[in-house]
Structure formats: structure tokens, C-alpha cells
């Protein structure tokens, strides 16, 4: 059982979860994830590792409340224990000195790109971070990210940032300015990663994406996380989660992620109803 040190709502729908898990903390590397179960009868879900403190033995992840399990997680607080906190899983992102790297992150992806940006910075790269938020009040970890990036951009639909464009439009304008980008990383919801790859494809910039298919065990056993990369079937949990975005069959990933939509909705409705205290 892993003890929760901190669970806080950062911005609407996004919560930070810091768990005491010394073994995981000792071995965590950027790009890896953990499998989490909020309670004995819960579902196992993958959460990208956003930070770790090897001395304190704590691992931090940021998750978005989009279903029963994440809503359950969001109701836990410091001191509670969660039965399953397994990891670090998946291949870490490969960190080299590529020259200039563009990292794009949206929603939970903002936290996911932080460790990768930090590692790339230490490896001597010139790091450009592009954060996508729908509105100003959804931005978090701005200071943390500014410290590890040479250039910090925001795409948002909010007057505060005087821009209205989404990730692809921002990447196109960045490239149009003549910024030299040798490599890119895009993490966030499937649509963000897909559209980021479409934006970097013409320029031929290799874009690594951290795929987020449905996972069950997260250790290569169940095959739920199958996805097609370069025509070959690969397991996101053991072969990934990082893949070359230009080689991924996005249509299949979109379809597979929606395959249990009805059951997820029914499960969330049922769980929300049980939150209502019966009167007698």
C-alpha cells in the first residue's frame, strides 16, 4: 500500500498526486509511467510520472478527472493509502543533445513534459516549451517549466495571452519565424499529439509522442494497449509509451480509446449516484 503525501486540485479538472514510493522514486526516469489503483475494487490506470524526489522517496503525477477512477483518486487526500502504485514502467524517453528541442504539452501533458524538458536541458539542448491551455485559469507549473526552458510559449484561447490559436497553428508560426527545431516532443490528449505531429510532419522534425491507449496491467501481458506504429503492432506499455508520432496510426488509436465509452459513462453515472447518501 502506498501512502499519499499530497493530493491537491491545481486547476479545474487537474489534480497533483504525490505518493511515498521509495523504490519507484529511486528508479524513475523521464517519460516513464506508473499503474495506479485507487481502491481494492477500482480499475488500474496509467499515470505519467511528472516528478520525483529520490531522497524523500516520493513520486509526483498529475491526472485529469475524466472517469470513475480519476474521480475516485480526486476524492482521496493526504494520509490515505492506495493499494497499487506500480512502476516505473515503460521505456524512458531517449535524452540526447539534439540541439534545439520543442516540447508541446496540454492539460496533464504540461506536467508530463516537465521531467523530459529538464533532462533535455541538462543534456545541453536549447529547450522551447509550448504550453496549450484553453484559458489562463488552467495554467499551472509555469515557474517550474520556465526554469527548464530557454523559450516559453503559450497557446490559449484567452485574451490574457493575446492569442487564439491551438498547438498546430503556434508550431507553424514558430517554424515560419525561422526557428531551427531539430526534434520535438508532444504529450497531452490524443488530439493534441495528433495535430502537433501533423504540424511538424512537413518540416520533417521527428516528434516523439507518449501514447495514452487503454491499459490494464501495464507490463506487456494483456495487449490492451496495442497500437500500430510503422504498420507493425507495438505494445505502448513495454515498447513505448514514446513513439515516433509520424509513424503512429492515429485513426486506430482514436477508435480504440472510444471502445468502452458506453461502459465508462455508465460506470461514472453509477458511481456518482452512490455518492448521494441514501436518506434512511
Amino acid at each position: 500500500m502506498a501512502k499519499i503525501l499530497r493530493r491537491e486540485r491545481l486547476v479545474p479538472n487537474l489534480h497533483v498526486l504525490e505518493v511515498s514510493a521509495p523504490e519507484v522514486a529511486r528508479k524513475s526516469l523521464p517519460g516513464q509511467f506508473v499503474m495506479v489503483m485507487p481502491d481494492e475494487r477500482g480499475e488500474r490506470i496509467p499515470l505519467t510520472i511528472a516528478d520525483w524526489d529520490r531522497e524523500k522517496g516520493s513520486v509526483t503525477a498529475v491526472f485529469m478527472t475524466v472517469g470513475t477512477t480519476t474521480h475516485k483518486l480526486a476524492r482521496l487526500s493526504a494520509g490515505d493509502e492506495i493499494p497499487v502504485f506500480v512502476g516505473p514502467l515503460g521505456k524512458p524517453s531517449d535524452i540526447q543533445n539534439y540541439g534545439t528541442v520543442l516540447l508541446a504539452g496540454g492539460c496533464f501533458g504540461i506536467a508530463a513534459i516537465y521531467p523530459i524538458a529538464r533532462a533535455l536541458k541538462e543534456a545541453g539542448n536549447k529547450v522551447i516549451t509550448l504550453i496549450d491551455v484553453k484559458a489562463g485559469y488552467l495554467l499551472y507549473w509555469e515557474e517550474k517549466l520556465r526554469k527548464v526552458s530557454d523559450r516559453f510559449l503559450v497557446s490559449a484561447r484567452d485574451h490574457r495571452f493575446a492569442t487564439k490559436d491551438y498547438v498546430p497553428a503556434k508550431i507553424k508560426s514558430l517554424l515560419a519565424e525561422g526557428a531551427k527545431v531539430d526534434r520535438a516532443v508532444a504529450i497531452g490528449c490524443t488530439y493534441l499529439m495528433y495535430s502537433a505531429c501533423e504540424a511538424t510532419r512537413p518540416a520533417g522534425i521527428k516528434t516523439m509522442v507518449s501514447l495514452n491507449p487503454i491499459m490494464v496491467d501495464g507490463t506487456g501481458m494483456c495487449g490492451a494497449c496495442r497500437c500500430a506504429v510503422e504498420g507493425k503492432t507495438r505494445f505502448a506499455c513495454v515498447d513505448g509509451p514514446d513513439f515516433d508520432g509520424h509513424a503512429v496510426d492515429w485513426a486506430e488509436l482514436f477508435a480504440r480509446r472510444k471502445s468502452y465509452l458506453d461502459d465508462e459513462i455508465r460506470s461514472l453515472c453509477y458511481w456518482e449516484r452512490t455518492q448521494l447518501a441514501p436518506c434512511a
Binding site: 479545474p12 478527472t65 475524466v66 485559469y137 487564439k164 491551438y166 456518482e272 434512511a280
Partner: protein, 826 residues
């Protein structure tokens, strides 16, 4: 008078606002807080127009035309003012998706994202593509905002059943507050706090269920944004089909739009179309609005036919099952009976009736509800051809309305909305009943009678009227007058437990002229004094010229009554059938409706035809799965006697078949002719040929002999409290709503016992504690709900016949109430 809008001339009367006139003539004026059913509010300020000769801007939703008025609805300053106002609205609303170019593409890929906890953009919102704010943004072509987005960060309120309230999406148009006050009369919510802190809330910030909300869903339906969203369907993508149906629950017959997605019901909303307004005029109640989805998709649904083989029910195909049942019934024809629920369609009941007569050689269908108010009225008046028919619209125009012994706000909520409409137009509401209920708040006179004292009160009122009024020329008047001379007014009032002066006020109000309506319903049935009460009501109606308005209880009670009226005299009703079953004279019973079989019975062959697994199936020899209202086409005859067609919403679940199909096939197998039908339309044609619905009442029935008030109230003795068995309408066929909807259990539960604060304290009972209730003939346990309206010495429990309430153990079947004592279980 005539006015010009943008140069076009219109001939209008003064009743419609400029906004309504413009909308009717295809001139678009943005408006977010106006609503056809609500008084003008003029808060969103989007609908401002210019009027020649008057300075300033005028909200067209509140401006009534004057002769020669020239209105300009589209000019540069107006366009700028509306755009600026819309920007202000959006500055406090999660507006990111509204101004984003990627919205369409993103929407297709992000279908699963609608399950987020807090809505921060249209893509996440339950009202996406249905939201009126989106429509106005599109029409005014707004694509950027000069203000930083603000998220009010109000906590999403999830503590109530049926729907959540996320006031971060609220634009304070006030429609929910106004519909709750002006249309539904509950006034549970209001705008609280001031300035930019203003938000919709309840008094003392209580939950809706603690503030008196009946969860009719009217506020959810008028909300222009996603602030109020139904719990069950708010995560679902938009529906792909809508079917026009009629609600299967109560006699009002509300038209509902059942929304389906890939062949499964997602939600049901009242039909709010303005062209041919339905009887419910865009309103519904908790049953029709929130429970139909759970009912049709209940885990208790029967999906395949079953027949009993060596003691165990085994699933089979239809052919085998039908053959088995036909074989079982054929030898026992003549000693069989058919009980049907009057929540089935007219077509179902008609074929079941034919099947019962021709194949079973019984005397037509027997209503599972037992004698309905229509039967009691017809019996008291010596066999009516057709019950008196007043339309709900007539009730809304009545000057005086007397509601007797029926909590219309719970049994027929949309009929209650029309009564409220009458009260709002200055009509007087008189409420008579054994206990206080939410209606008394709107009544100008609310009399609490001793349980069972209703007939005595009516007799007293008739006597008071006789003293004043001139004798009526109608038949039987003298006999009626003589029958009342037996007891004095004071005695009648004393027997009813009402002060004489109140009784005179009631009589005075009824005699005041102007259209009057006497509204009563199932609450009077199933009691020893029912016949007396109904005849006294009949006389009162003749004395005052008031319209009798019996509230037929179930969605097709009227249709069932039309069919059962044709039976021979002395044909057995439900009680007689059950007695015959217990005595063994009845050999075969065909149950197409809820009925609690006696423990020991002599039946040789029992068939259960229903949509849901229920207790009777244990003893059944064959169980045939029937389709629900949403899975079949047909007509339901509402309490106004109006047959309304309901369309099929989804295919029947499993192998369920419509009731008429099963009966028609069985009749064929049993060699009975005249029952073969290929579709509901054919059956309707046959019904029209027989003129079943075309029956009209001719010739006034005269006065009936009034029944003198019953003997003195029996003494307290060992059982001090009177326990009322309240008729509970919360079921569909054999499924009680609390069995399938956890939310419904919070609102009403047959396991509750309502008791006054004094009596509860006397017995040491707290809210929510379990009480042990004992009468001379049995005991039951129930959960205590302390209700302020209950008078001292009276308690009430639900009489739901689905085996969920122990009331039937406490009293004889037709007693209506029982003397009990209540103690604490510790």
C-alpha cells in the same frame, strides 16, 4: 393595431411582445432570458431594440406594441451593444471553445472527454450543440473577447438526485427560478447574494431535496446552458434519434420526446413544441422526466419466455412457450380470468379483452388497480355511459376548484400545474383532506377532516347550500333533500371533524358562481366510505353546477374503463378473482398486471405476462416477456378521454413482444377467431369501427340519495393512531420505481411512514429511525419521516401493491385505513 418592424408592417393585438411578433415573422432578435411560458424578465439585455421617437434602448421581450410604433431591430449601434453585452456574458463563462477555430475537428475526436468533473469548455459540456448561448454566439458572429477569462470556481453541487448544478456555467438568466415559482408553484430556488457574487441557490443554502423540490425537471429543461444537467445522461454524446411518445405513468398523458442513442434510451424530455401544444404544455414530472430510462433498461426486465418444467422455470422460444400456454389454458376455458394493468395501450387492452372473452371464455379484462375512481363514480350514478369529461384547459380557467382527498401535486403533477395556473389567474383553491400537503400553501381555504370524514363534510356542505339555494328542478332532488334531513349540519361537521363556520365558508365559496371544478381521484377509492363520498360529490356538482373532474389514475385507466363498462353485471372485479383463486373455483389465471396473489390458492395454471420479474413469477407456470411502452406503438387514453398515439422509441429488449401480439397468437392457437391482427393500426381501426371512444354522455343523471355520515369515530383504545393507506402512483406495471432508480428512493420510498412531530416525539422516534407498526390484524416495519403536515393521531404509509409495503397486512383489503400503535425498534 399595426406596427412596423424594420419597415415591414404587421397587424397585431396588444397581447404579444415585440420579440414574439418578430420571432413569429422570422426576424431574428437574440434573447437568452425570455421564454414563451414565463413572464418577461429583461435581464440579459440582448434583445434591445430602438423605437422611433423614444430615446434609449428598449428590451423587446418586455415591450408591448402600440399603434403606429416603428421598431428597428438591426442597426450598427444595436449590433455593437448586443456584441458588447454578449462579450460581458461570456467573460464569466468558460468560453474557450466558443472562439476556437478547431472546435468541429476537436469535437469528433474528444467524444470521451465529456466525463470531466468541471466543464471548462463547450467540448466538455453536457449541453454542447444544444446550448442557446452557442446559438447566439454563432448568430452574432463573435469570435474574440476583450477580457481575460474568469472562472468563478463555484463548487459543483452534486448532493441532489437526478441532476447536478454547476453554476460556473450559469448566466443568471433567472429562467429556472421563474419556472419554479411561476409555473410549478414550488419556488424552491431564488437568486441569492448580490452583484458579481449573485448565484442561484436555496434558502439557507440547503440541498434541493431538503428545500421541497419535487424534481419535476422544469428548471433543467428551461436552462439555456449546461448549468443544470441530468446526472444519467450528462456524459452521453448527443442523441441520434427522438421519438414522440406518451408517458405511461399517470392519467394526464404527457407527451414526451424520448431521445435514443444507438437503439438505447438516453433521456426523456417533455414535448415543448409550440405549434400543436401537448396537454402538458412543455411540463412533466419526476416519473416521466427522469425515471423512464432506468425503467426500460431495468436489470429486472424479462427478456425470454419461460415455462415451468419439473418444478423449475426454463427459458424457451416463443413457439414452444405459446404452445405450452395454449395447452394449459384450453381445458380450463370458462374457469379462467384475465387481469390486466391499465398502463397498457388501448390496443393491448382491446386484444387482451377479446382474448379473454373468446379464448378464455371469461368476461373481459379485470383491472389490476382494482375499482378505479371512474368505476366508483359510474357505480354510484347507476351505470354511466361515459364519465364527465372536462379538459385540463377548462380546469385552468375555473374560478373555484375543490380538491378532495388527493395529493394532486404527487399523483398528477401536470394537472396540478394547470390548477396553479387557475389560482394565478385569481381562481380560488379549496383543499379538503385528512392531512396537510404542499397544495395547502396555495389554497385560500384548506380543511383538515377526520380520516374518513369526507362524505360527512360533503353532506354538511350540501345542507349549507340547501339552506341558501333555490330548489333544483332535476330528477331526484326531493329524495336527495329528504335523505339529508336525517342529520343536522352540526352533527355532520362534528362527524367530519371540521368547524361549522369553515364548512359554511366552503359552501359560500362554491356557491359564488363562475366555472367551478370538483377534482378528486384514487385517494378516495378502496375505503368503506368511498361510495358515500362519490354520491355526495355527485350531488354537490349538481347543486353548484360545478364540473366533476375525476383524475383517472393510470395512463390508460379511461381506456380500460371503456372496455370494462361492456361487461355483464356482477362480473368479478380483482378482489372477487383473487377470492375465487384462493377458494379453488378459479382454475386458470392470466396475469398481465401487478396483483398480489393470496399465499394459498387452488390455481392449476398461472400465466404471467409482464415486462419485469416480480413475485408472481415464483408461482407462475409460464412467464411471457412483454414490451414496455417505449418498445411498442399504440394509443393511450388520458383522463380527458383523449386518445394519444405514442410512437416506438427502441426495438424491444431481448425477445419481448407487445402484449397484443402475445394475446393474438395465443387466441389463434386456442382456435378463437377474431383476434388475428398484424399491427397496432389494424387494432385501432377495429376499435374505431366499434365506436369504443365515441361514447358521449347524454341526458343529465338526477340527484342520488345522499348517504348520512357514518357512526361516531371509534375510540382510541389499544391502537391510538389512525394509519392511512396512501395510494402511491410510483410504479410502472409490476416495477416499483424505487426498485430501479436509487435517486427515486431519496424522493419517495414505500418503506417510509409519515408521522407528525408530536406523535413521533410521543413514541420516542427520531427522523430516519425504524418504527414497529402493529394493528389488530398484523404488523410491519417502516422508516420514520417526520412530516409537519400530519395532524396529531394520524400517520400515513404507502399502499403500493408491489409487495413493498406492509400495509396490506395491517388492514382488510378495502379498509383504506387501520388503527395502529407505533413503537420504537431498538
Amino acid at each position: 393595431m399595426n406596427i412596423t418592424i424594420d419597415g415591414r408592417r404587421f397587424e397585431v393585438q396588444g397581447t404579444k411582445t415585440v420579440l414574439e411578433i418578430a420571432k413569429e415573422n422570422g426576424i431574428y432578435i437574440p434573447a437568452l432570458c425570455s421564454h414563451p411560458r414565463l413572464a418577461p424578465y429583461a435581464a440579459c439585455r440582448l434583445c434591445v431594440v430602438e423605437i422611433k421617437g423614444r430615446s434609449g434602448l428598449h428590451p423587446s421581450c418586455n415591450t408591448y406594441p402600440e399603434d403606429g410604433m416603428a421598431v428597428v431591430t438591426d442597426s450598427e449601434p444595436l449590433r455593437l451593444q448586443r456584441l458588447k453585452t454578449l462579450e460581458l456574458i461570456l467573460s464569466e463563462h468558460p468560453n474557450a471553445c466558443l472562439i476556437c477555430a478547431e472546435k468541429e475537428k476537436c469535437e469528433d475526436h474528444k467524444a470521451s472527454i465529456r466525463k470531466v468533473g468541471e466543464v471548462t469548455g463547450c467540448v466538455f459540456c453536457p449541453s454542447n450543440r444544444r446550448c442557446e448561448l452557442q446559438e447566439v454566439v454563432g448568430k452574432l458572429k463573435l469570435d474574440s473577447l476583450p477580457y481575460d477569462s474568469v472562472y468563478r470556481g463555484l463548487e459543483v453541487r452534486r448532493g441532489d438526485p437526478f441532476f447536478i448544478q454547476d453554476y460556473n456555467l450559469c448566466i443568471l438568466c433567472g429562467r429556472c427560478v421563474r419556472v419554479c415559482r411561476e409555473v410549478r408553484g414550488a419556488a424552491v430556488i431564488s437568486i441569492v447574494r448580490r452583484g458579481s457574487e449573485a448565484v442561484v441557490g436555496t434558502a439557507l443554502d440547503r440541498k434541493l431535496m431538503d428545500a421541497g423540490c419535487q424534481f419535476c425537471g422544469a428548471c433543467v429543461d428551461v436552462c439555456p446552458t449546461g448549468a443544470l444537467a441530468e446526472r444519467a445522461s450528462r456524459h452521453e454524446p448527443p442523441p441520434d434519434a427522438v421519438a414522440k411518445t406518451v408517458c405511461p405513468h399517470c392519467g394526464v398523458g404527457c407527451r414526451l420526446d424520448v431521445e435514443t442513442l444507438q437503439g438505447r434510451i438516453v433521456a426523456s424530455r417533455p414535448d415543448a413544441s409550440l405549434e400543436a401544444p401537448a396537454v402538458n404544455r412543455g411540463q412533466a414530472c419526476v416519473r416521466g422526466r427522469f425515471t423512464l430510462r432506468d425503467t426500460v433498461a431495468s436489470p429486472r426486465r424479462l427478456r425470454r419466455p419461460m415455462i415451468r418444467k419439473d418444478g423449475k422455470l426454463v427459458e424457451t422460444g416463443w413457439d414452444a412457450a405459446l404452445a405450452f400456454v395454449a395447452a394449459g389454458l384450453k381445458p380450463r376455458a370458462g374457469k379462467a380470468a384475465l387481469v390486466a394493468s391499465s398502463q397498457l395501450s388501448l390496443e393491448d387492452l382491446f386484444v387482451l379483452d377479446l382474448f379473454s372473452r373468446s379464448a378464455l371464455k371469461a368476461d373481459g379484462i379485470v383491472a389490476s388497480l382494482g375499482p378505479s375512481i371512474l368505476d366508483e363514480l359510474s357505480a354510484a350514478a347507476g351505470g354511466l355511459k361515459a364519465p364527465p369529461r372536462a379538459s385540463l384547459a377548462d380546469v385552468a380557467k375555473a374560478r373555484t376548484i375543490l380538491v378532495l382527498g388527493e395529493n394532486v401535486a404527487v399523483s398528477h403533477p401536470v394537472a396540478w400545474v394547470e390548477i396553479l395556473d387557475a389560482v394565478r389567474r385569481g381562481g380560488r383553491l379549496l383543499v379538503v383532506g385528512p392531512k396537510d400537503d404542499p397544495m395547502s400553501r396555495h389554497a385560500s381555504l384548506s380543511l383538515k377532516v377526520r380520516p374518513g370524514g369526507e362524505p360527512a363534510l360533503l353532506a354538511a356542505v350540501s345542507k349549507a347550500l340547501l339552506e341558501k339555494g333555490a330548489p333544483s328542478g332535476l330528477k331526484g332532488f326531493d329524495a336527495f333533500k329528504r335523505s339529508l334531513d336525517g342529520s343536522s349540519l352540526a352533527a355532520c361537521c362534528e362527524s367530519a371533524g371540521v368547524k361549522e363556520e369553515d364548512c359554511r365558508r366552503l359552501a359560500g365559496a362554491l356557491a359564488e358562481g363562475g366555472p367551478a371544478a370538483l377534482v378528486f381521484g384514487q385517494g378516495l377509492c378502496g375505503a368503506p366510505w368511498t361510495k358515500a363520498c362519490v354520491s355526495n360529490l355527485w350531488n354537490l356538482a349538481l347543486q353548484t353546477g360545478a364540473a366533476l373532474f375525476p383524475l383517472a389514475e393510470e395512463s390508460d385507466s379511461f381506456g380500460a374503463w371503456l372496455l370494462m363498462r361492456r361487461r355483464a353485471a356482477g362480473a368479478p372485479d380483482l378482489a372477487a378473482v383473487l377470492r375465487a383463486a384462493a377458494a379453488g373455483t378459479l382454475k386458470a389465471l392470466y396475469l398481465a398486471g401487478p396483483a398480489s396473489l393470496p399465499a394459498k390458492h387452488g390455481l392449476e395454471f398461472l400465466v404471467v405476462q409482464d415486462s419485469f420479474m416480480n413475485d408472481s413469477c415464483q408461482a407462475a407456470d409460464a412467464v411471457l416477456p412483454a414490451a414496455t411502452f417505449a418498445e411498442t406503438e399504440g394509443n393511450w387514453v388520458n383522463l380527458e378521454g383523449r386518445a394519444q398515439k405514442s410512437m416506438k422509441a427502441i426495438e424491444p429488449l431481448g425477445e419481448a413482444k407487445p402484449d397484443w401480439w402475445i394475446a393474438s397468437r395465443l387466441a389463434g392457437l386456442m382456435g378463437a377467431d377474431g383476434c388475428a391482427f398484424e399491427g397496432a393500426d389494424r387494432i385501432k381501426e377495429r376499435i374505431d369501427e366499434e365506436g369504443l371512444l365515441a361514447v358521449r354522455e347524454e341526458g343529465g343523471q338526477g340527484f342520488l340519495a345522499a348517504c348520512p355520515p357514518g357512526g361516531p369515530a371509534d375510540k382510541a383504545g389499544e391502537y391510538p393512531l389512525v394509519l392511512l393507506g396512501e395510494y402511491s402512483p410510483d410504479y410502472y406495471r409490476t416495477l416499483a420505481l424505487c426498485q430501479t432508480s436509487p435517486d427515486f428512493k431519496v424522493l419517495r420510498d414505500p418503506g417510509w411512514i409519515k408521522i407528525g412531530p408530536e406523535d413521533a416525539a410521543g413514541a420516542g422516534l427520531q427522523e430516519g429511525a425504524t418504527a414497529h407498526v402493529e394493528s389488530s390484524s398484523g404488523t410491519m416495519e417502516a422508516v420514520v419521516r417526520i412530516t409537519a403536515g400530519m395532524p396529531k393521531g394520524v400517520a400515513a404509509v404507502s399502499r403500493l401493491d408491489h409487495g413493498l409495503s406492509g400495509f396490506s397486512r395491517l388492514s382488510a383489503a378495502a379498509a383504506g385505513s387501520a388503527r395502529v400503535k407505533i413503537t420504537r425498534v431498538n
